[in-house]
C-alpha cells in the first residue's frame, strides 16, 4: 500500500468511527422522538418498530391530562426570572472581583466554585425546611430563588473571566472622563462585555430550564416545571412509554431549538479566554 492509500484508509476508519460514536450518543434521543409518535402498543412491540404510521394522539392526551401549557409557563418564568436575577447579582460581583482585586479574591472565587462540588441532595433537607417555613414550597418564587442561587457561582465565574479580558485602564479612562459608576457600566463596560453577558445568560437559561432535582423536590402541581411534568409520567400507574416520550419531547424541544440558534454565542462564551 502506498502512503496515499494508507492515509485514505485512516481517513475512512476515522469517519466511520466518528459516525458510530455520534449515532450511538444520539440514538436514545432519536428513539425518544420516534416513540413519541407511536401508539402505546407500537411503543412496546417486539421487535421494535422503525417504520410506522405516526400519530399525534400522545400529545393530545398529555396536554389534556396534565396542562402542558401551565408547566411550560412555569419553566419559562422560572428560567427567565432566575437568569435575569442571576445576572443582576453576578455582574456587580464579577466587576468588583475583576477590577478591584484584593488578597482574598481568588479564595472567594474558589469557595464559590466549591459550592458547586457539593451534591445538591446534601442541602435538600435544610433548603426544603426553609422553603416550607417561608411558605415558598410549590411556588415559582421559591424555584426562582433556588435556581438563581445554584447558578450564581457559574455566572460569576463566567462574567469574571470575561471582565478579566478588559484592560482596567479603559474603565479608569472613563472615570477620568467624568463618568459616574452608572455611566461607566452602561456606556463602557456593558457594550464591551455584551458577548460574555449574552452567553452567560444563555447558559443559565438552559441550566434553569433543564433543572430537575430542585423542581421535583420543591414543586408539585402549581409551580411544577416541565421536568416535573416528565417525571409525573413514570408514576405508580405504570409506565406509558409513548406518552412519557411525548411529554419529554415537548419539554426538551423548546430549549433544543433555542440552543441551536444560540450555539455560536454559547460556544464563544464557554471558551472565552481559552483560545485567543
Amino acid at each position: 500500500m502506498t502512503q496515499t492509500q494508507i492515509n485514505k484508509l485512516i481517513y475512512v476508519v476515522r469517519a466511520v468511527l466518528s459516525w458510530a460514536v455520534a449515532l450511538f450518543l444520539f440514538f436514545p434521543l432519536g428513539w425518544l422522538v420516534l416513540t413519541a409518535f407511536k401508539t402505546e402498543l407500537q411503543a412496546i412491540s417486539v421487535p421494535p418498530l422503525l417504520f410506522f404510521k405516526p400519530t399525534m394522539e400522545n400529545f393530545i392526551i398529555v396536554e389534556a391530562r396534565s396542562d402542558y401549557l401551565l408547566y411550560a409557563q412555569n419553566s419559562l418564568v422560572t428560567s427567565v426570572a432566575s437568569t435575569v436575577l442571576g445576572l443582576a447579582l453576578a455582574f456587580p460581583a464579577a466587576y468588583s472581583m475583576a477590577f478591584f482585586r484584593t488578597k482574598r479574591t481568588k479564595d472567594i472565587l474558589m469557595w464559590m466554585l466549591s459550592t458547586k462540588m457539593m451534591p445538591a441532595v446534601g442541602a435538600l433537607v435544610p433548603v426544603y425546611v426553609m422553603a416550607q417555613t417561608s411558605g415558598l414550597l410549590d411556588t415559582t418564587t421559591g424555584l426562582i430563588i433556588v435556581f438563581t442561587l445554584s447558578n450564581l457561582p457559574i455566572m460569576v465565574w463566567m462574567l469574571y473571566s470575561n471582565f478579566k479580558e478588559i484592560p482596567g485602564e479603559i474603565l479608569e479612562a472613563s472615570r477620568m472622563d467624568g463618568a459616574s459608576l452608572w455611566q461607566e457600566f452602561r456606556l463602557v463596560l456593558l457594550p464591551l462585555t455584551m458577548g460574555g453577558l449574552a452567553s452567560t445568560g444563555l447558559l443559565c437559561l438552559v441550566l434553569s430550564w433543564n433543572e430537575a432535582f430542585w423542581s421535583l423536590n420543591l414543586s408539585a402541581a402549581k409551580a411544577g416545571t416541565l421536568a416535573a411534568l416528565i417525571a409525573s409520567y413514570s408514576s405508580p400507574e405504570g409506565l406509558f412509554w409513548a406518552k412519557l416520550s411525548a411529554a419529554s419531547f415537548m419539554a426538551v424541544a423548546p430549549i433544543v431549538v433555542f440552543g441551536w440558534f444560540s450555539q455560536k454565542q454559547l460556544v464563544q462564551g464557554l471558551t472565552f479566554g481559552a483560545v485567543k
Partner: protein, 348 residues
C-alpha cells in the same frame, strides 16, 4: 499659592510603603516630569493625583480647592494612559467627544472642539474609524486628543511613549512639547526615560523609593545634582563616580575637599584624554565607541578604576593604548560617604 499642591502624601500597598511623605508644588502652565527607576512610585504618585488611588494621609489641592477625597470624575483632570485605553467600541470621534458628552455640552460645541483637536493632531481623516483600525502612533494621538478636547486643569501623562518605536517616540516627544507650548496647559508627565525628562520638562522631579530626591530644571539637575543618585540617574553615559580612596590622585587635583570615605563625580565630558605621560592620571583604553557626533572612550586607570570620557573630536586610539587623563577640577562634583553633595560644580 501654587496651582497644584501636594502635602505630605503617603501611600502604602499592604505592608509596602510606596510613597513616603511627598511635598510638591506645581505652578500653573508648568510642564513637570516625574522620573525615576521602575518601582520608585512615580506612576503611583500620578494615580494619586488622578484619584485612581486613594491617599493614606496628606492632602492635594488644585486651583485653591481641596481634591484629596474627590472621585476622579470630579477632579477636572485628563489622563493619557500608557496603553492609550481608548474605548474600543467607539469611533475616534466618539472617543474624543465622550467626556464632553458626559458633561452634557452642546453638540455644536462638541463638534467644533473635536474637529479642532483632530486638526491639531492630524486626525481629521480618521474620525470615523475605530481604534482597531489605527496604527500605534495614531492611537497615541487619539488618546492625547481625548485629553485636550476637554481643556482640563491639568494633563497627566503616564509613560505615553513607551509603546512606540524609537523613531516615532522622538517625533511624538517633539509634538507633545509643541502642544504644551501652544496650549500652555499644566502638565505632569511620568517617564523612566531621562531624555524625555530632560527635553520636555520645565522642572524635573526625581523620585527614588517613594521619596523625592531632587526637584529642579533639567540643567540644574545635570549641573548641580543634590546627591550621587541624581548625579548618576541624569546624563548618558552615567557620571563617573569614584571613591577617593581608590583614586588618591583626585585628592591632589586642585582643591577638592572630599571628606573621608567620600566620592568624586566627573561627567564624561570633563574627563579629558591627553597624551600618555601627561595629565594627573595614567590609564589604558578598553573600548572606543564612535557615535559620529561624539566619541565615548572607556578606560581603566592604573589603579583599576573604570572611567568613561566623552569628546566631540574623533579619536584614533587603539584598544590597549596608554593615555593620560586630565581632570577639570572646576566641574567635578564631590559627595560625602552617604552620597550627599558636598560642593556642587559651577559648570554652565
Amino acid at each position: 499659592m501654587s496651582y497644584l499642591q501636594l502635602n505630605r502624601i503617603e501611600k502604602s500597598f499592604g505592608a509596602q510603603r510606596v510613597i513616603k511623605g511627598v511635598d510638591l508644588s506645581i505652578n500653573k502652565g508648568e510642564f513637570v516630569v516625574f522620573v525615576g527607576p521602575s518601582g520608585c512610585g512615580k506612576s503611583t504618585l500620578l494615580r494619586l493625583i488622578a484619584g485612581l488611588e486613594n491617599v493614606d494621609t496628606g492632602s492635594i489641592h488644585l486651583d485653591g480647592r481641596e481634591i484629596t477625597d474627590l472621585p476622579s470624575s470630579k477632579r477636572d483632570l485628563a489622563m493619557v494612559f500608557q496603553s492609550y485605553a481608548l474605548y474600543p467600541h467607539m469611533s475616534v470621534y466618539e472617543n474624543m467627544s465622550f467626556a464632553l458628552k458626559l458633561a452634557k455640552a452642546d453638540p455644536a460645541v462638541i463638534k467644533e472642539k473635536v474637529e479642532r483637536a483632530a486638526q491639531i493632531l492630524n486626525l481629521t481623516q480618521y474620525l470615523q474609524r475605530t481604534p482597531k483600525e489605527l496604527s500605534g502612533g495614531q492611537r497615541q494621538r487619539v488618546a492625547i486628543g481625548r485629553a485636550i478636547v476637554r481643556a482640563p486643569k491639568v494633563f497627566l501623562f503616564d509613560e505615553p511613549l513607551s509603546n512606540l518605536d524609537a523613531a516615532l517616540r522622538g517625533q511624538t516627544r517633539i509634538e507633545i512639547a509643541k502642544l504644551h507650548r501652544d496650549l500652555d496647559a499644566t502638565t505632569i508627565y511620568v517617564t523612566h526615560d531621562q531624555v524625555e525628562a530632560m527635553t520636555l520638562a520645565d522642572r524635573v522631579v526625581v523620585l527614588r523609593e517613594g521619596v523625592i530626591e531632587q526637584v529642579g530644571t533639567p540643567l540644574e539637575l545635570y549641573d548641580r545634582p543634590a546627591n550621587q543618585f541624581v548625579a548618576q540617574f541624569i546624563g548618558t553615559p552615567q557620571m563617573n563616580v569614584v571613591s577617593v580612596a581608590k583614586l588618591p590622585a583626585l585628592e591632589t587635583i586642585a582643591a577638592l575637599k572630599a571628606p573621608a570615605g567620600g566620592y568624586v563625580g566627573l561627567r564624561p565630558e570633563s574627563v579629558k584624554l591627553v597624551h600618555e605621560g601627561d595629565g594627573q592620571i595614567r590609564a589604558k583604553v578598553d573600548l572606543v565607541e564612535a557615535l559620529g557626533a561624539e566619541t565615548l572612550i572607556y578606560v581603566t586607570t592604573e589603579q583599576g578604576v573604570p572611567l568613561v570620557a566623552r569628546q566631540t573630536e574623533r579619536c584614533h586610539l587603539d584598544v590597549g593604548a596608554g593615555v593620560g587623563i586630565d581632570v577639570d577640577a572646576e566641574v567635578a562634583h564631590v559627595f560625602d560617604a552617604q552620597g550627599r553633595v558636598v560642593s556642587a560644580s559651577q559648570a554652565a
